[in-house]
Symmetry: C2
Subunit: 468 residues, 2 copies
Amino acid sequence: MVIKPWGYSVWENMQAALDAKFKATGHVNAYFPLFIPLSFLEKEAQHVEGFAKECAVVTHHRLEQGEDGKLVPAGKLEEPLIVRPTSETIIGEMFAKWVQSYRDLPLLINQWANVVRWELRTRLFLRTTEFLWQEGHTAHATDQEAREETDRMLEVYADFAENHMAIPVIKGHKTESERFPGADDTLCIEAMMQDRKALQAATSHHLGQNFAKAANIKFQTEEGVEEFAWTTSWGMTTRMIGAMVMVHGDDDGLRIPPRMAPSHIAILPVLHKEETRAAVMEYCEKLKADLEALEYEGEKIRVAFDTRDVRGGEKTWHWVKKGVPVRLEVGPRDMEGDSVFVARRDKGPKEKYGQKRDEFVSGAPALLADIQKNLFEQAKAFRDEHTVSIDTKEEFYAFFTPKNADKPEPHGGFAMCHWSGEAEVEEIVGKDLNVTIRCIPLDAPHEEGKCVISGKPSSRRVVFAKSY
Amino acid sequence: MVIKPWGYSVWENMQAALDAKFKATGHVNAYFPLFIPLSFLEKEAQHVEGFAKECAVVTHHRLEQGEDGKLVPAGKLEEPLIVRPTSETIIGEMFAKWVQSYRDLPLLINQWANVVRWELRTRLFLRTTEFLWQEGHTAHATDQEAREETDRMLEVYADFAENHMAIPVIKGHKTESERFPGADDTLCIEAMMQDRKALQAATSHHLGQNFAKAANIKFQTEEGVEEFAWTTSWGMTTRMIGAMVMVHGDDDGLRIPPRMAPSHIAILPVLHKEETRAAVMEYCEKLKADLEALEYEGEKIRVAFDTRDVRGGEKTWHWVKKGVPVRLEVGPRDMEGDSVFVARRDKGPKEKYGQKRDEFVSGAPALLADIQKNLFEQAKAFRDEHTVSIDTKEEFYAFFTPKNADKPEPHGGFAMCHWSGEAEVEEIVGKDLNVTIRCIPLDAPHEEGKCVISGKPSSRRVVFAKSY
């Protein structure tokens, strides 16, 4: 996967927003090695089980001319190195050195990094062998503090997803079978894509003392007793760029929420008449400067000015596809009327409107806020429309089965159903329908019922869905 | 190498400053894969020659239980993957797809990434198997434009090194034998460490059409002729953190130039008297808030407030070692006198002084600027002191030979000498003295002379030195 500049700029905006939230909650960044010795990975039994099947293994440290003159791997390593699929084990080794006393806790670290999980079937942004992410790793003196941290970071992710990415999410616990390998509890946020499948948008793990025991992260308590620390980890990835595409995109291309947009506004001058060209350029330059002097959500308004010498339709289409929130078309007649022609990417392509230039400029921050809100509301309405409570097995199977098997159309959605807590139920719906329990919502009200599959007693509904 | 939070924060400051300069010169960030297929690397003959001897090779994509129950590499790859030592080849593959017409040029891309060069003898920050860096990669329509870009980015690096890192540098060309593998010309900036050795602080390469031919980066000119593009690449790395340590550090630890410092000012309250504790805390909180309301070099002043319950001496020493530019000691008596006790890290430990609190606050930005300037001037004076013109072989050998062979002390420095242009001279001084030509300075005046080693004619002096 190559992330081209426009996409990478979205990632930079995501990084800046998340990084500020991490720092505001007391975390600091650090950097740990890409290569993990195999023996480190083996220390936590469930963890290595979970990651051994899909990892890149470095076995040699140079290339040499082979017999046929071609370069072949040489300098075999005594111990193979694993390209990090995640860094609990190697960071745990360091935490064991850094933590001696309760005074050293909590230790609140985040890392921005690339990780590798070998994928035989890749899917752009969603499932790629290498991806970019941040991984938080913290150590605490008590179980309670570690739980609070796990909750806190889930809140940070939910806030980020909803208020920055305009993606509504459900916060919940993963079931035991869907937990991070080695975790005591995995919290997640789940979002609905426009094909009604679920996407796990971020996870926050309470690791208990499992990794502390594996890596020997011990500390002296205030009372002088030696104890293992309680650790957490949490991450969000470039997969969120895929979520943005699949939640907000339409048939014309991307629709980027203003807070994440590389450019908030694109000015598209109409330059084909030689005699008005210079005047239109000047008018647009001034417009750009005036807009850039304003702030939206604490940042300067970002304006693209497309002076390329291409046809008007091609220029417009270029920015529609890229999903810039607002396009301003400015030709000689707009200039004469001291106005601009405005197109919002969150509205239909025909809903363009003329507006007095000064009125547009002063209203620009509010316009962007309105687009941000509108994209969230559109996504939420879509999700609500495709979220249903189901109480019978027949209905459940019908919901997740396409009407037309030859040419399946979008179907299903989030089925809120009672679940008995049995892993067997998960196995059955997985095998029959490719459906999983996405999460047990944090805010699920207590409600007595019967498991939609097994009929056994249940006390709250969970989210069933197909997923990426 | 693990980069702990304080060091990583320096890197974040470096990134922010450099990134702003790259964007101001028209570059955008993107991201390319970590793994380079062996066949890509082989396309440029000199390039693969230069990097094949020290690269990490991924040969398998999973782990399996071996016969003895231990995990062993499995899933052998058909083609080995090289963990990027640098990305010219894989970025070149993409450029070939992105560039069709002169309208697509120049293409100005930067990448922030980790790279791996296998090192048998590592040295923290200076020579590590994995390091962090940025690598710029650009493609241009003409040789001239590519040369201008190479020069421009060298200027950006020199400006950054001198004005942000407070490290004086010499700008110059590498000799042919020291060029980047595959480049037509390598420009560099060279700095002197306190052991008088040189450190290459950044490089900017004019790659000619070599990589364009290897990757087939072609474009149609305005006249409709198909031509190969001209490319450049340029990079700066976490090695600069090592340079900062070795240029500015003293026997007491780090001395971080204010513009790069994670905290500009550390407030160290004296809290051991219970009856004044709350008042001192409040006084310091207010001081912190007032300082943070000010700006230094366009950024808010960063203040650390060390409320740890440790002895005063230990607290002071902690911040001295970390190299925070200014320490403020604040006890009950300072508070009563409405003053603070100031220690500058660029001055001796005994030169502390009391100052009225308001006077200190209003003068803080100027104080930081003065420390920044002073560190640069100290480093420059040191470099000038150990830079000499040498015209005889005897003097040259004496300059680079320690007086005491058993317990060598810092010796040598930058020897400005005539050089004939012969690679043999480089071989001789390399073998005899471990000395290399660091660069042919851009601003070296024309001066007729004789090569210090071979006696053959030369028209300008170059920089000879031992180096890292």
